[in-house]
Symmetry: C2
Subunit: 288 residues, 2 copies
């Protein structure tokens, strides 16, 4: 296997959602269209609305969308509506950091799923969110925040997501908490105090147990995947029915999750080259 060097470490210095400069380059304006499409109706958006949302004229939006379509990033569905095209799947499959980690983790996911007979998630941090990179379904029907591959949750919501947040450097953790508190409240859960105590517990014991009933009948366990400096770069988690995580089974689940997480961490940091890339302070992220 090719060495991953410290790639995953560097990537945890994630950018802000968007250093929203009003006067971005034309390329950046065009890329924003893709984001607009991704957030709109999956059936597609009307040119007029796209232009309005993007804050540009209709002909401009039209030309950009034509270019995006010509390159396979967007497409026009029935009714002339624009939406994202299939090529994102193809590109996502080859996204460097992600595909490397996913390939490295897949055997672990399969083992876990086979052993536990439950649904297993692989999450990575991306800015203020955790993104589901892979998931292997168990035989039991599951509801999760993360949803499918590519699904996003604010850091702090859900097993794996909490496990990651709990194991970030303190300054980053603080910044994420400040940013995410309103989003968490928005989703109907967790005041700041209970979040902080959950984080303290998670960090202390090295794993997260969500039998909190945030999703009725569901429960889960999440463990962080740590780099050489003990920073969380990813998380493995189990989502299952609450009744399947009783006091008997929980320790067992935690144990084998942790052992897979440690093995994975070992694969990702074959040498401690990571030390050569000291973490920039959060204040420099997304600056100007």
């Amino acid at each position: 296997m090719k060495s991953f060097s410290s790639a995953f470490v560097l990537d945890s210095q994630n950018q802000m959602p968007a250093p929203d400069t009003d006067s971005a380059s034309s390329l950046r304006r065009a890329l924003k269209l893709l984001r607009i499409l991704s957030q709109g109706d999956p059936e597609g958006l009307r040119l007029k609305d796209i232009a309005e949302t993007a804050g540009c004229s209709q002909p401009t939006a039209h030309r950009m969308l034509q270019d995006l379509a010509a390159e396979g990033f967007a497409e026009q569905a029935a009714g002339k509506r624009y939406r994202l095209a299939l090529d994102f799947y193809v590109l996502a499959a080859r996204a460097g950091q992600a595909s490397g980690l996913r390939d490295a983790a897949r055997p672990a996911l399969l083992r876990l799923s086979a052993t536990l007979s439950d649904t297993i998630f692989l999450l990575v941090r991306n800015g203020f969110d955790a993104v589901c990179l892979d998931r292997v379904e168990g035989p039991f029907p599951i509801r999760s925040f993360t949803g499918d591959i590519g699904g996003k949750v604010p850091l702090g919501l859900g097993q794996g997501s909490l496990a990651i947040l709990a194991n970030l450097p303190e300054d980053e953790q603080e910044a994420v908490i400040r940013f995410n508190i309103p989003r968490l409240l928005d989703r109907g859960f967790l005041d700041e105090a209970s979040l902080r105590s959950a984080l303290a517990l998670a960090r202390a014991q090295g794993w997260v147990n969500t039998s909190t009933g945030l999703i009725p009948g569901m429960a889960g366990v999440g463990v962080p995947v740590l780099d050489a400096q003990g920073r969380a770069v990813a998380a493995l988690s189990v989502g299952t029915l609450a009744e399947r995580l009783n006091a008997d089974r929980l320790p067992h689940v935690v144990k084998i999750l942790q052992s897979e997480a440690q093995a994975l961490a070992g694969k990702l940091n074959p040498f401690d080259v990571a030390l050569r890339y000291p973490s920039r302070s959060l204040s420099t992220i997304g600056g100007s």
Copy 2:
């Protein structure tokens, strides 16, 4: 559920790989960079090489990559190398056509996987390829052409891919065959004659059985998902160990695959609105 109208139908009029106009807009040149990144080393590509491949100056490539990075589409790994970033996963999860079909098909995949205890694939056509939109793992270790979600195979290679190609309109099928023959030979398999006879058989019986030993020890069954006009828009397929597809089990597998495929087709074409969008002839696709 919201009606899908004829969205999936329209999308089968897929564009050529790239109407390679030398003087494309600056946006299209920038988007090509993403493709270059996706095809290069997952660890990342050097600016110099990117610029060279793209045929633009180094400063230009640099500026575009900075913009791509600022919007979360690319990132710089260790050693300054550029690669695709995580946001592709997030966007792929919300790509209209794809996510609609995937959501519609997921219950079927889960049922099939549970019933058959094998790995189930959902494939859709994209140009001259079949793309894996979703896959649910069975307990047996599988090797497939398609690989993971987002994986691509030339139409004609593998169960589901063959099932799609076999059920395209004749002129499109012919165009795809002509384009793909070299690619298929490249991958070491199938002369044109055996491809054509396999297609005829597939179309006649409505399903594909690959126990051909193309991948040693592997076998599979694929069935097309047809739209109102009988054109293939997707395929469901099973990949398993050859020994698990014996004469006893095969008819059973085919039967339940077909029944799920028909149910899925019904979901996708609630009304026959599709007829309102007659298919353009292939010759107009990618013209000029």
